[in-house]
Amino acid sequence: MKSVEERLRALPELAESTGLQADEQLKRKILRAAGEKNGRKGGFALRRLAPALCALVVLVGAVAAALPALRPAGPQETDVHLIDSQPAGQLQPGEKRALDVPQGSISIKSARNPSYRSIWAPMSGGTPPIIGVEGRYYRMLTNPTSISGSLLGEALGTVDTFTSEPALAGGAGICSNTVNEGETVYAVSGMRGALAAANVNGQMRVFQRVSFGKSALVGRETLADTLRADSAVALELSGVATVNDPAAARRLVGILTQNAQFLGTSGGESNQSLLIQLENGIVIQMAVNGERLIACGTWACPEFFDAFQEALQ
């Protein structure tokens, strides 16, 4: 039995094991909060300057209106082709998906620039809505808001711990900060290890495998195991283009899963995304930062971006 003194001497190690990190997000929050308070202090000066600022805004607006040539000649919003949303699950009579259309009748769109959009449900209190299943973590997707029973695979178990700190709940069992205790967590059919589904407020929500805390791959898992995107029918790389030819999408996913090098579990910053639409109608995401892709772990794959670029030519 260790003495109190011995146990206290292990406090630094204990602090480390909490995994708590003062990250970039908190730093930005601090700078924003400090800026807001300073802004309030400077309110009087701003009020005095307000008439001059208003005049300046009017003047700039008038000049811009008078010189249409100065406006950027980029693509119109309506030209941008995005991965279409569609219900996940069984098709209704008359509905078609990309794969049902004869091969080659849909081509790769070139030089379109879909804007950035994240489909991961937003963080709350520094933690995303998440389920942990035996050390594998799944983050809730914003869409679809519910999937049909036909897409549910085997039951992975029931949530045994509901906690606001899933990172600290340990790897054993099933924990969540979003799904209530006692709710069953399912694999999505054919997507075990990559997608899970569970009831959230009466809706069967989909969760995508991501790294969380210091956990990413379990055992001998590979990127392919955590994505299961070999049934991709379309890809959208924000700011670049959309590939909606299933054969091309699958070839690109193949290049990604065969060449990506695992860099680590931490996520980092991103303002670009790769959306992958699967044959079952569900869209999953990898955040993109330079030549790194982030979902369940951070991966480097310049080959994928080269191939994506080539596919557009």
């Binding site: 260790k2 109190v4 602090a15 909490t18 700078l31």
Partner: protein
């Protein structure tokens, strides 16, 4: 204080501030709030920090803020009634995990004066004279709080073991 100085101090000490606050309050969100308050104060008031003493200033402000929060009735209700802080154990060290968890909970049950001193000494590695200067309390008082804090911890841990 300019942004560059802030960034340097944040990189160096924000984890310590966050973790000390977490040990103190047992709530991640509140620990982040305290860290935010401390660094906002640093940015806004631009205190005259003596080089090499920045960390002591940051921790002192953090502990004061934690105490304020702890005193507030709603914190007592929410935190004392909340589930234990938990750590992520590897499968083969469950005993170790439980032992650490028990220690964290016991620290949170210490009176505030003892908790400050225990965290500053054992977690942050400050000596008795440094803590005395930081908290503006005589060294003898710090020594006494340390030994009484240890005794109290032992009692709490025994009590828990007996349950």
């Amino acid at each position: 204080m300019d942004e560059q100085q802030f960034e340097a101090l944040y990189e160096k000490y924000a984890n310590d501030v966050l973790r000390v606050s977490y040990f103190y309050l047992g709530d991640r969100q509140q620990a982040e709030d305290v860290t935010q308050d401390v660094f906002v104060r640093l940015l806004q008031n631009a205190p005259d920090l003596v080089e090499g003493r920045e960390k002591a200033w940051l921790l002192k402000v953090a502990l004061n803020r934690c105490r304020d929060l702890w005193r507030a009735a709603w914190v007592k209700r929410v935190v004392l009634g909340s589930p234990a802080m938990e750590l992520a154990p590897a499968p083969d060290n469950m005993d170790d995990h439980l032992e650490k968890q028990e220690l964290m909970q016991a620290i949170r049950r210490l009176p505030a004066d003892f908790r400050d001193v225990i965290l500053l000494h054992y977690y942050q590695g400050y000596g008795i004279s440094e803590i005395a200067e930081m908290l503006r309390v005589p060294e003898g008082t710090i020594s006494s709080r340390l030994s009484r804090g240890r005794r109290k911890l032992e009692e709490i841990l025994k009590e828990r073991g007996a349950q």
